[in-house]
């Protein structure tokens, strides 16, 4: 096999990513500089993942996977070339480096005045995480836990026609080295549990789903409160089973905490990434220190909360994360920036350079993003509305390039005279970030976070969304 025959020298798959790689990586980086590159960055990755699925009372899928890869990025001026490869042999990496240089018209050795001072001291953010993989649940323990979950759901109600529980464990070891001296390693561990059901009674059907996730917590699955989750999920499915379709219109809504924050993430957060500024598609590009939201709204993006799904010890460009205040009392304070974003827009890096894996170049991405809590109780928000909608559980949605959004409501209730009324289905929230942010007039005192996956230019990354209960004075609700 040609691929195998071309493997030469060491295979980094069987190497711990540590300081012993310094010489080899410095040689590669020096070659890149000798071609005249402004900056060369190498990202190495090993992964070890498991995904499991339980359906009804059986384990129906066990899918382990592992992999290796490297992404090499070369900057020249404001342009960059990026090449990814599965081949971690020295020859494979050299091939990728040459390809990336060639994209920018650069040839190794052509710039005699190149200067590369070598890598800085090795920063090992993973030194206390080496045992995470071994401490995570094995197949036996994790399959048992999933079957406990589907059994628990089955015990809740006989009309749950489909009961599914899934578990994913993603372990990743990464190393970042660049000609500006960055030389850092980290280990990441992310676990998610998902449960979903289909309830059926006569011709009525309802679906309900929940997902939980954490980072850096090997015991997360072990500590999962199955009973609490299955009670909540079953209640939601039963309430929605006989729900009527909501009538479309313009109305005030209260969005619940946790995953309700997905709208802020999608409709506003993405517009505060320098990736969007570069494209010229953010309506907030010239709004720093200007009022873009109601003064009740303050929002942050940070990578620091303990075990939160979007937390990181370093970003995928080797920078430690920050607590970035995005909006303060409605005034835009900062954008999220990565290396390329900083180069092209001038906004300083915020430790937000993230990528799904080696095959993507890092880009400015959110981490844990949430609206800060206010002073009201959730009940006060509902009491303030005569006719409106309470969105207890949000589904997914989409956002257009300039902030137009559309989100489905998984579990909704009408609000009548300040009280929750009957459940309704088929509701979607439609709006535009610039118009809706000034209408968030009340924030409750119950901030909570929820794990999610965010797909964008650098692939799917783990994030946390969040908010307290919030009230939007008026929004278009789609229905029938």
């Amino acid at each position: 096999m040609t691929l195998l025959q071309t493997k030469q020298g060491e295979n980094l798959l069987f190497h711990t990513f540590d300081d012993t790689l310094r010489t080899q990586i410095e040689e590669l980086l020096a070659l890149g500089k000798s071609a005249g590159a402004d900056l060369v960055e190498i990202f190495l990755e090993k992964s070890d993942n498991i995904s499991l699925l339980a359906e009804q009372d059986d384990i129906s899928n066990v899918s382990p996977s592992f992999g290796v890869g490297a992404g090499i990025r070369v900057f020249l001026g404001k342009k960059d070339g990026f090449v990814s490869t599965n081949d971690l042999s020295i020859a494979g990496l050299l091939f990728a480096l040459n390809q990336a240089l060639d994209m920018l018209g650069l040839v190794i050795g052509s710039n005699k005045n190149h200067k590369f001072d070598g890598l800085a001291n090795f920063k090992d953010f993973g030194s206390k995480k080496n045992d995470w993989l071994d401490h995570s649940p094995d197949l036996d323990e994790s399959t048992t836990k999933l079957l406990d979950a589907t059994r628990s759901l089955g015990n809740k109600n006989k009309n749950l026609q489909v009961r599914r529980a899934s578990y994913s464990r993603n372990w990743q070891e990464v190393l970042v080295a660049a000609t500006d001296g960055v030389f850092a390693r980290d280990i990441r561990l992310h676990q998610t549990v998902g449960i979903n059901v289909i309830a059926q009674k006569d011709k009525n059907r309802s679906t309900s789903a929940r997902r939980y996730g954490s980072s850096g917590n090997p015991d997360d699955l072990r500590n999962w409160d199955i009973e609490k989750s299955s009670v909540e999920l079953n209640e939601s499915a039963q309430k929605m089973l006989f729900a009527e379709f909501v009538e479309a219109g313009q109305m005030p809504v209260v969005l619940a905490n946790k995953f309700g924050g997905v709208i802020f993430h999608e409709a506003c957060g993405h517009l505060l990434e320098t990736t969007q500024l570069e494209r010229g598609t953010s309506p907030f590009h010239d709004s720093i220190n200007k009022q873009i939201a109601h003064r009740a709204v303050s929002a942050v993006d940070e990578g620091l909360s303990n075990h939160a799904f979007g937390s990181i010890s370093m970003d995928d460009e080797g920078m430690e994360p920050q607590n970035t205040l995005l909006i303060e009392n409605g005034i835009l304070k900062k954008f999220l920036s990565d290396r390329a974003g900083s180069l092209r827009t001038g906004h300083p890096r915020t430790g937000s350079g993230r990528r799904q894996n080696f095959s993507f170049a890092a880009a400015s991405r959110m981490r844990n993003t949430y609206i800060k809590q206010g002073k009201f109780s959730p009940e006060e928000l509902i009491k303030s509305i005569d006719n409106g909608l309470y969105c207890k559980s949000m589904g997914g949605g989409s956002v257009g390039p300039t902030g137009q959004f559309n989100f489905s409501v998984e579990e909704g209730y009408l609000i009548k005279n300040g009280k929750l009324d009957k459940p309704v289905k088929g509701a979607t929230l439609i709006g535009e970030a610039k118009e809706i942010l000034p209408r968030i007039s009340m924030c409750a005192n119950d901030l909570d976070l929820a794990a999610g996956f965010c797909g964008s230019v650098s692939g799917s990354v783990n994030v946390t969304v969040g908010q307290p209960h919030i009230k939007v004075d008026s929004i278009t609700v789609g229905g029938r």
């Binding site: 691929l3 494979g92 379709f245 559309n406």
Partner: protein, 462 residues
């Protein structure tokens, strides 16, 4: 360090070497039954911004999924992107460990057609281009698009890609499939803004097996025409409307509910259909739907699926009657039919359509034959593209609520809709079709004519 580029053939798979390694490691592990699917790809892509290169990308990627049967006939799999000898050895170990948790109640087998003769596809493998050539083409396209109208200020999302792919399926009983193909694609998503109006955007995409034959000019003109038509926009009232779906939009909708035709989804209780639904009328009687992976316009078609079964064209709906389903080996065995060539590879094998083709049955009449996309004077909504499919569709319930790009058409005059959502029930939609136009149009995701549906719920922006 030797800086010679030695990996000129990186990314090329050799089935014989893979087969020999798998025989070696399976024998060492006392595994007598296994199969393996591998793929490899090389691609380069460019993005531009206002005449300058923005990002240039290249990749060489390999992956493999190995499936083993242990002595209790339990199946385990492992996937890896490391196709070195050591990687394959590790994958064998992982698959054997996973097999201990294999589902004894539903164990996949080899496809009975894994060694059957394949349909001749023989795609032409195009000559590769350099990054500079791709950049030059895309810069020119961006410039041409911006120059089509004074209000078009940028093409914020764009890309030109050229890729080479190969796929292998081999098993311990001697099945040996191997196929290569090339593919190029361009997407252009432009933005326009006029004074005191909201920014508007629209896009187009083209795919071909050969970059030199990629129809870039039509992608530019389609994007420009759409965008210009969206510059003047208005909000519409929330109400029930007569709707005409463009071929792209109707295929999006049918694809979103393709679990209706998916035997795996039916068995799992995730489909609107049941095991007894074949033979039932599910739409108006002049609708035909087929899945035609072998259609000559289906760029990127492989001649076999993840289990090695030959790709086949399958009639799914004929005269409105559900006639066939899409199958893997396991679902076909359960239904007592032959696999259809729509399987992935796994411990639990997924099933998915290849290339949907919608057509009008010649033997049945339209409910309203007077409707025509060319000269209808009635008021209707023309839905061009649906969004948020992943979140706005409840496939197991049949309901959907989706934002769309489109126009309200009155007396033949098209006016862009500012923002709106279409909601409904797929079975109701299929039974409310009033006209299927004769002309079938090839899109990048399948083939369909324009399809007219009455009484669709539309929510406008109030």
């Amino acid at each position: 360090m030797n800086n010679e580029i030695t990996n000129k053939k990186i990314g090329v798979l050799d089935p014989k070497v893979l087969n020999d390694l798998l025989i070696k490691y399976s024998t060492q592990s006392e595994i007598h039954k296994w199969d393996m699917g591998a793929s490899s790809s090389r691609d380069i892509s460019v993005q531009v911004q206002q005449g300058n290169a923005k990002q240039l990308k290249g990749s060489q990627r390999n992956s493999m999924t190995l499936r083993v049967w242990n002595k209790y006939n339990q199946v385990g799999i492992t996937s890896t992107s490391d196709l070195t000898s050591e990687g394959i050895k590790k994958a064998m170990k992982g698959a054997i460990e996973a097999s201990l948790f294999g589902n004894e109640k539903e164990s996949p087998e080899f496809s009975s057609l894994a060694k059957a003769e394949l349909e001749e596809i023989n795609p032409e493998i195009s000559n590769s281009h350099t990054i500079d050539q791709l950049l030059s083409i895309l810069k020119k396209a961006e410039k041409q698009l911006i120059n089509t109208h004074k209000s078009i200020d940028s093409v914020p999302y764009n890309g030109l890609n050229e890729s080479y792919m190969e796929r292998i399926y081999i098993n311990s009983e001697g099945a040996n499939r191997h196929m290569k193909l090339s593919q190029s694609s361009i997407y252009l998503y432009a933005k326009a803004e006029e004074e005191n109006k909201k920014p508007r955007s629209a896009g187009g995409i083209r795919i071909n097996s050969n970059l030199d034959e990629l129809d870039i000019d039509s992608c530019i003109s389609e994007t420009s025409d759409k965008l210009i038509s969206h510059l003047d926009y208005k909000s519409i009232e929330t109400s029930k409307y007569l709707v005409c779906f463009t071929p792209e939009a109707f295929l999006q909708l049918i694809s979103a509910f393709s679990s209706m035709f998916n035997a795996r989804s039916i068995i799992d209780g995730l489909s609107l259909m049941t095991e007894d639904s074949v033979g039932n009328q599910i739409s108006v009687p002049n609708l035909n739907i087929s899945d035609e992976g072998l259609h000559p316009k289906n760029v990127g078609a492989f001649s076999f699926d993840g289990e090695g079964t030959p790709t086949q064209n399958i009639q799914l709906v004929s005269n409105g009657i559900l006639t066939n389903l899409l199958h893997s080996e396991a679902t076909a065995r359960k239904f007592g039919v032959r696999p259809t060539g729509h399987a992935g590879l796994g411990a639990k094998v997924s099933v998915s359509p290849d290339w949907l083709v919608v057509s009008k049955s010649k033997s049945k009449m339209d409910k309203d034959s007077s409707l025509s996309i060319k000269d209808t004077i009635k008021e209707y909504i023309l839905i061009d593209e649906l969004s948020a499919i992943h979140s706005g569709v409840k496939a197991s319930q049949g309901s959907f609520s989706l934002p769309f790009d489109g126009w309200i058409v009155n007396d033949g005059k098209k006016t862009s809709i500012e923002a709106a959502t279409v909601a409904g029930d797929i079975l109701k939609v299929l039974s409310s079709i009033v006209k299927i136009e004769n002309e079938q149009i090839v899109t990048h995701q399948g083939i369909s004519p324009h399809v007219w549906v009455e009484n669709m719920s539309i929510t406008g922006e109030a």
